[in-house]
Amino acid sequence: MSITIDIQLNRSSKIYHPGETVSGVVVVDSRSDTRHDGITLTMDGMVSIQLSPRSAGLLESIVSSSKPIPLLSHSVAIAKSGKLPAGQTEIPFELPLVPRSTSKTLYETYHGIYITVHYCLHCDLKRSLLAKDVNKSQEFIVEYKTGAGGKDQMEAVNFEIRPETLQNVRDRARIPRFLVRGHLDSVNCPLSKPLTGELTVCECERGISSIELQLVRVETCGSSEGHTKEASEIQNIQIGEGDVCRGIAIPVYMLFPRLFTCATTLAPNFKIEFELNIVIIFDNDHLVVETFPIKLTRT
C-alpha cells in the first residue's frame, strides 16, 4: 500500500514572476483505497544566510546562520480528510505568489555559497497514527519580471591593460611588456543575453598560454553591525587558447549560467553582486587580472 505524491507545475520551466499565480496539480498515486487526514500544500520562500567562518568568527557564523529569513508562506488544505480511491488522483491548485507582508519583497531565486534564496512547494498527506505521513516538495524558481528593473544605459566600457595599469605589483621589472586593448559592450548585463565585447592583444613580449573570463559573485552578509564580504568564482570561460595571434580582435562572449546567477540584489541585510575578471596567463604561469564590476538585470 504505497502512496506517492507528485507536484506538477503547469510551467515546464518552473519559472514564475512575483505577483503571478503558481498553479499545477498534485498527483496522488495509490494502489488501493486509502484513508487520510487531509492534504495540505504549503508554499515557502526564504533567504538563508551563512556567515563566512573566516571573516565573522566561528561562533557568530553558526548562530546567525541558523536563522533563515522567511519571505513568503502560504498554506492551503487542498483535500479534507477522507478516502482516496485507488489509482491516480489529480488535485489542481493555485497559489498567489505574493510576499507575506507588504514590507517584504520577493527576491530572485539564488543558490550561492553563503546566501541562498529558495522557493519551494511542500505537499503533506496526513495519515492516521499508525501510518507514516507522505511528503513531497518541489522547488520553483522566482525571477523578476523582464523590464521590471527599469532601463539601464547600455554603454560600452573600454579598457586597456598595460604593465603600468597594474596595481599591487611587487617587482615591476619582472613584468613583460604587453598591451591589451578592448571593450565590453556594457557592464549592465541582462541575464538572458550574453556578455559581449572584444579584446585585442596588441603586443606582448612573452608567449600567452590562455586568456580567460571569470565570473565572480560577491556576497555580502549582515547589516550595520559589521558585515562579511566574500567573492567566489561561478564560472570560468576560456576565450584564448595558446599564444593568440597579435593584433586580431578576439570576441569576448559569455552566457550567464542559469543556476548560479540572479539579478544583482541589494537587500537590507545581504547583497549579491557580480564581477567579471579578465585573466591573461603568460606562458611562465604568471597572470594578469583586470576586474570589472557588472550589474546583472532582468531586462
Binding site: 564560472q235 584564448g240 562572449y253
Partner: protein, 963 residues
C-alpha cells in the same frame, strides 16, 4: 546383302517450290509459348520429358518449356528502374522529412572525399599519446603488452575539490582553479589515464572504441557521459604535434563529434514530433524540445576550455533549427570569430574548417563569415611564418615529423582547411566576393599566398579562373615560397582553362606567360606533367604550329638526359595521346618534325619514315604492344592485346588504294607473327580485300586486278599454315579457297581445297575445336561446308578420273582411323553422299560466278555418274556396317544415323533400284525401333508431302512405311 548406291536424276525445276510470305499478327515467341503451355499443361504429370527429347521439336519451344518466355518475363516483371525511382523518391521524401535543414548531398560527398583524402595523406609512424578517463581497464592492460620502453601509463587522481576561497588570494584561487579545470570534466569518473607510445593504428582503434562507448552511453540514457566523451575527444585536438598526423586526428575526432551531434539532434527532433501524439499537445511538445535544446546550449556554453566549447557549439548548430534559425546564424558568425582565440595556427585552421563545414549545412546561403574566416586564416599565417623562421614551429621534433622539410610540411597540413573553405565559398559566393578573395590573394605573401593560390585554382569555378587567368599567372610567377611548388599551381591553372577557355584575345598571351614559367621547372617529371596539361590547352586552341613549338621544348628537356628517356616513357606517351586527342587537326601534326621526333623516341631503332606516317607510327605502337608479350603473359592479356591490335587493323583503310592496303597487311603480318588471332583477322581482311576488288571490277578481272587477287590468294595460302589451331586453319583455307575460286584463281583455289582436305584429318586427329562445341560438331559443319564448295569446284585439268577433289575427300574420310565409339564417320559419310549425289547430276544445283562447273566440263559424261556411284557405294557400305556394328548399349545410337541415311536415300537415291529400296526399308526398321514415336509420325508426314513431287519409287516406300 549387296550394297550399291544408285543416284536418281533430280529435276530442279519441278522440285523447286517458291516460299511465300504471310503477314502474322502474333509474336512468334509468344505464340510458341502459349501453344506449348496448352499442350503440356494436361500431360505435365505424365511424361513431359519425352517431348523435349524429340529431334524435330521446335528448339525455341523446347527452351521455353522450362519457364515462361524471357521477353514476356521482362514485360510482366515490374520495371526495376521505375521501382528504384519509386523507392528513391520515397526515401528522399523520408529524408527530407527527417532533416528539414539538410543541405544538398553534393556537399556531403565532397566532404567525404575531403575526409578520405586527409586520412590517406596524413599518417604518422611516430608514437601518440591518448588521454581519457574512459579508457577501459582492458585498454590499459593491453597497453601493458606494449614494450615497456614505449609505454607510459600515468594515473592522475582528481584533485579533491578544495573548499572554495579557503584562505587563498585571488591569484592562488585561479591557480587552483586551473589545476582543477583539467579534471573538471572528469569529475565523477575520477581518474584520467594517459597512455603513451601508441601507434597510429592503436590510436585510431582507441578512438573508435570510445565512439562505440559514447553511443552505448547515449542509448542507456547516460547523456552526460556521452557528452563528456565528446569533450575529451576534442581535447585530443589540443595537441598539434605531430603536425603531419593532426589532420587525420581531426577527421577521426570529427566523426565522433558528428555522431554525437546527430544523436542530440535526432533526440530533440523526436521530442518535438513524437511526444505530441495528442494533437492538442503539439505546441507543448515543441516548447519542451526547445527547452531541452536550450539546456544543451547552456551546458555546452559553460565548458571551460575554448576548443571543446567551440567544437561542440559548432556541432550543435543544427539544433538551432528547432529554436530559432536566426539565432543559429548569429551563433555561426560568432563561432567563426571565436576561432581567433586559438593561438596555434594549425589547430585554429582546422577549427575554422569545422565551423565552415557545419555552417554550410546550417545556413547554406551565408558566405560573409567564410570570407572573414579566410582573412583571419591569412592573418595567423603571417605569425606562423615568424615562428617558422625562428624554428619554433612545428612543435614536434624533427624526427617526429619524419624529417619532412618544415616549409613543405606547413604547406601540406595547412592546405586542406583552406581548400575546404574556398570550396564552400566557390559554390555559393557572388562574383564580387570571389574577386575580393583574389585581391586578398594578391595582398598576401609567402605561404599564405601560395596556399591561397592553390586552393583558389583547385576549387573556384572554372569560368572565374579563366576570366582571371592572366593576373593569376603573374601571381604564380611572383609567388616565391617552397610550399606548393609552381608546377602544381600551373597544372591546376591549366586544368581550369582546359575546361573553360579564357577570352580569345588573352589566349596567346596566357600561353606565352605560362610557358615561360614551365620551361624553368627543374625536375623533368614535374615538367612533363605540367607540359601535358598545357599541351591540351594549346592543342585545343591553337594550330599545329604552336603544338610543334611546345613539343620542341619538351624534346629539348628530355633530350638533355637522353639516357633517362625510358623513365619518362609513360608521361611522354601521355603527351602524344593528349596532342592527338585534343588537336583540332591531328593530320597536320604528323607533318610536324617535333611530333615525329617525339615519336622517334619510342621507335628507337627504326629511322625510316614510311608513308603515310600515321599508320606507320601506330603500327610501331602496336608492334611495341606485341613485343611486350613474353612467356609470362597470361592468356587474358594476350586476348586483350589481340583485340586492341585487331581493332586497329580493322580501322586502317586506304580507300581505293588496294595495293597499299595489302602492303599494310603484309607489314602487319610481319609485326604480329606471335598473335594467332591477329593473323587470322589479317587473312580475313585480305579475303575481304579480294572480294572488294571483285566487286570493283564487277567480276571481270583485268590483267592487273587478276594479278592482285592472286597475290591476295597467295598471301592467305602462305599465312594460314603458321596458325596453331587446325580448326582455324581449316576454316581459313575454306574461306580463302572460296574467295580464290570466286576470283577465278582456279589453281590457288584447288591448292586451298587440297590443303583443307588435309587439314580436315588434322582436325579429326586433334581435339582442337577453336573452343566452341565438340570436335564432331565442328567436323560436321566444316565437312558439309567443304563438300558443298567442292560440288561447284571444277576438276583440275589433269585429273584423269573425274571428281578429283571429292574423291580425295571421300578417301580421306573412308581411310581415316575413326574412333569406334563415335558416329562421326557415319555422319560425315552421309554428308558426302549428299555431295556426291549432287555433283553427279547433269545440272549442278549451283555454280560459282563465271566459273565453269564440272557439268559444263564433262557435259553429262556417264563416267562422272559411275565414279560418283562407286564412291557413294563405298560410303554407303561404311555407314551400314557402322550401324550394324552397333550393339548392346550403343544400339540406341543407330536411330539418328539411320534417320539421316534414310533422308539421304529418299532425297537422292534411285528408289526403283531394289538395292536402294532394301536399304531404305532396313533404315526404316531402325527408325521404328529407336526413334520416338512422335518423330516417326512427323517423318511420315514429311514423306507424304514429298510424294507430290512425283519421284519414282517413292509411293512404294511410303506404302512400306505405312504398313
Amino acid at each position: 546383302m549387296a550394297l550399291e548406291w544408285k543416284t536418281a536424276a533430280r529435276q530442279w525445276g519441278v522440285e523447286k517450290k517458291a516460299l511465300t510470305a504471310l503477314p502474322t499478327s502474333t509474336h512468334p515467341l509468344q505464340g510458341v509459348r502459349d501453344r506449348s503451355l496448352k499442350e503440356y499443361e494436361p500431360s505435365r504429370d505424365k511424361k513431359p520429358k519425352t517431348l523435349i527429347q524429340s529431334m524435330v521439336m521446335d528448339p525455341l519451344s523446347a527452351v521455353l518449356d522450362d519457364g515462361p518466355d524471357p521477353l514476356s518475363d521482362l514485360l510482366a516483371a515490374s520495371d526495376p528502374l521505375s521501382a528504384q525511382t519509386y523507392t528513391g523518391s520515397q526515401k528522399g521524401l523520408k529524408d527530407s522529412q527527417e532533416e528539414e535543414a539538410s543541405s544538398p548531398s553534393r556537399w556531403h560527398t565532397t566532404w567525404t572525399q575531403t575526409q578520405n583524402h586527409i586520412l590517406a595523406n596524413f599518417t604518422t609512424s611516430s608514437t601518440l599519446t591518448f588521454m581519457s578517463s574512459f579508457l577501459h581497464p582492458s585498454d590499459t592492460a593491453e597497453s601493458r603488452a606494449v614494450p615497456s620502453h614505449r609505454r607510459v601509463v600515468k594515473t592522475q587522481t582528481a584533485v579533491p575539490e578544495r573548499h572554495r576561497a579557503q584562505g587563498m588570494s585571488g591569484s592562488e584561487r585561479i591557480r587552483a582553479r586551473l589545476e582543477q579545470m583539467d579534471t573538471l570534466d572528469e569529475i565523477g569518473s575520477g581518474v584520467v589515464r594517459e597512455v603513451g607510445g601508441l601507434t597510429q593504428g592503436e590510436f585510431t582503434n582507441r578512438l573508435n572504441s570510445l565512439k562505440q562507448e559514447m553511443i552505448e552511453a547515449w542509448n542507456s540514457d547516460q547523456r552526460v557521459k556521452a557528452l563528456k566523451i565528446g569533450i575529451q575527444c576534442v581535447k585530443l585536438l589540443n595537441l598539434s604535434a605531430p603536425e603531419h598526423f593532426y589532420p587525420s586526428k581531426f577527421v577521426l575526432v570529427m566523426d565522433i563529434l558528428s555522431t554525437l551531434a546527430d544523436l542530440v539532434y535526432q533526440r530533440l527532433k523526436q521530442k518535438a514530433l513524437n511526444e505530441s501524439s495528442p494533437a492538442s499537445n503539439a505546441s507543448v511538445a515543441r516548447l519542451e524540445a526547445q527547452e531541452t535544446a536550450r539546456n544543451w546550449f547552456y551546458k555546452v556554453a559553460s565548458i571551460r576550455e575554448l576548443l571543446p566549447r567551440l567544437y561542440l557549439e559548432a556541432a550543435l548548430l543544427p539544433c538551432y533549427s528547432l529554436t530559432d534559425e536566426k539565432e543559429g546564424e548569429q551563433a555561426l558568425v560568432r563561432l567563426a570569430q571565436m576561432t581567433r582565440g586559438i593561438g596555434d595556427p594549425l589547430i585554429a585552421a582546422y577549427t575554422r574548417m569545422f565551423v565552415c563545414r557545419m555552417g554550410v549545412d546550417v545556413v547554406p546561403t551565408l558566405t560573409h563569415y567564410i570570407v572573414a574566416t579566410i582573412e583571419d586564416f591569412l592573418h595567423t599565417l603571417t605569425q606562423l611564418q615568424l615562428s617558422l623562421a625562428q624554428g619554433t614551429w612545428p612543435e614536434g621534433e624533427t624526427d617526429m615529423n619524419m624529417g619532412e622539410d618544415k616549409n613543405v610540411l606547413a604547406a601540406r597540413v595547412f592546405a586542406p582547411p583552406l581548400q575546404w573553405m574556398m570550396q564552400c565559398l566557390a559554390g555559393r559566393a557572388s562574383q564580387q566576393e570571389l574577386q575580393n578573395i583574389v585581391r586578398m590573394c594578391e595582398g598576401a605573401e609567402g605561404l599564405g599566398q601560395n596556399l591561397m593560390l592553390a586552393a583558389l585554382l583547385n576549387s573556384f569555378p572554372n569560368d572565374f579562373v579563366a576570366l582571371h587567368a592572366l593576373p593569376l599567372t603573374q601571381l604564380i610567377a611572383s609567388c616565391l615560397y617552397s610550399g606548393k611548388s609552381k608546377h602544381e599551381l600551373l597544372s591546376a591553372l591549366g586544368r581550369c582553362v582546359n575546361k573553360v577557355p579564357p577570352a580569345q584575345q588573352q589566349q596567346l598571351s596566357l600561353l606565352n606567360g605560362v610557358w615561360k614559367l614551365i620551361t624553368h621547372i627543374p625536375l623533368t617529371n614535374d615538367y612533363l606533367a605540367t607540359a601535358g596539361v598545357w599541351l591540351e590547352y594549346t592543342a585545343k586552341h591553337f594550330s599545329s604550329f604552336e603544338v610543334n613549338t611546345l613539343l620542341g621544348d619538351v624534346l629539348k628537356h628530355v633530350g638533355a638526359e637522353r639516357t633517362q628517356e625510358q623513365m619518362h616513357y609513360s608521361s611522354l606517351l601521355m603527351l602524344v595521346s593528349t596532342a592527338l586527342t585534343n588537336s583540332t587537326d591531328p593530320h597536320s601534326l604528323f607533318s610536324m618534325n617535333n611530333f615525329l621526333g617525339l615519336l622517334s623516341v619510342f621507335q628507337r631503332d627504326s629511322g625510316t619514315s614510311l608513308i603515310p606516317a600515321l599508320v606507320q607510327h601506330l603500327l610501331t605502337f602496336c608492334g611495341a604492344l606485341h613485343d611486350s608479350i613474353n612467356a609470362l603473359t597470361t592468356d587474358d592479356e594476350r586476348r586483350q592485346l589481340s583485340q586492341l591490335i585487331i581493332s586497329f587493323i580493322r580501322q586502317v583503310n586506304f580507300g581505293r588504294d588496294f595495293e597499299q592496303q595489302l602492303d599494310f597487311y603484309v607489314n602487319a603480318r610481319a609485326a604480329f607473327s606471335n598473335l594467332d588471332s591477329v593473323l587470322a583477322a589479317l587473312i580475313q581482311c585480305v579475303c575481304q580485300l579480294a572480294v572488294a576488288t571483285w566487286q570493283v571490277v564487277h567480276g571481270q578481272h583485268s590483267g592487273k586486278t587478276a594479278a592482285f587477287v592472286r597475290a591476295c590468294a597467295a598471301y592467305c595460302f602462305i599465312t594460314v599454315p603458321s596458325l596453331t589451331s587446325s580448326a582455324t586453319r581449316l576454316r581459313l583455307y575454306l574461306l580463302s579457297g572460296n574467295v580464290a575460286l570466286l576470283n577465278n584463281c582456279l589453281g590457288q583455289g584447288d591448292a586451298c581445297m587440297k590443303a583443307a582436305i588435309r587439314e580436315l584429318l588434322e582436325v579429326a586427329g586433334s581435339q582442337d575445336t577453336e573452343g566452341g562445341g565438340s570436335v564432331a560438331d565442328t567436323l560436321r559443319t566444316l565437312t558439309a561446308n567443304l563438300a558443298s564448295t567442292l560440288i561447284a569446284t571444277p576438276d583440275p585439268p589433269d585429273a584423269s578420273p573425274p571428281l578429283y577433289l571429292l574423291r580425295g575427300l571421300t578417301n580421306a574420310i573412308h581411310s581415316f582411323p575413326w574412333p569406334k565409339e563415335t558416329d562421326t564417320q557415319a555422319f560425315l559419310s552421309i554428308t558426302l553422299l549428299h555431295a556426291l549425289s549432287a555433283a553427279c547430276q547433269d545440272d549442278l544445283p549451283y555454280h560459282i560466278h563465271s566459273v565453269e562447273g564440272n557439268d559444263a566440263l564433262y557435259g553429262g559424261d556417264p563416267q562422272v555418274c559411275q565414279e560418283a556411284n562407286s564412291l557413294s557405294t563405298l560410303l554407303l557400305q561404311d555407314v551400314v556396317t557402322h550401324i550394324q556394328s552397333l550393339s548392346g548399349v550403343h544400339e540406341k545410337r543407330c536411330g539418328p544415323v539411320a534417320l539421316e541415311l534414310f533422308w539421304c536415300i529418299v532425297t537422292w537415291a534411285d528408289l526403283t533400284d531394289t538395292h536402294m529400296m532394301n536399304v531404305a526399308t532396313l533404315m526404316w526398321s531402325y527408325i521404328m525401333k529407336f526413334i520416338a514415336s512422335q518423330v516417326v509420325k512427323q517423318v511420315r508426314e514429311l514423306l507424304m508431302k514429298q510424294s507430290s513431287c512425283g519421284k519414282k519409287g517413292l509411293p512404294q516406300l511410303i506404302q512400306h512405311c505405312k504398313g
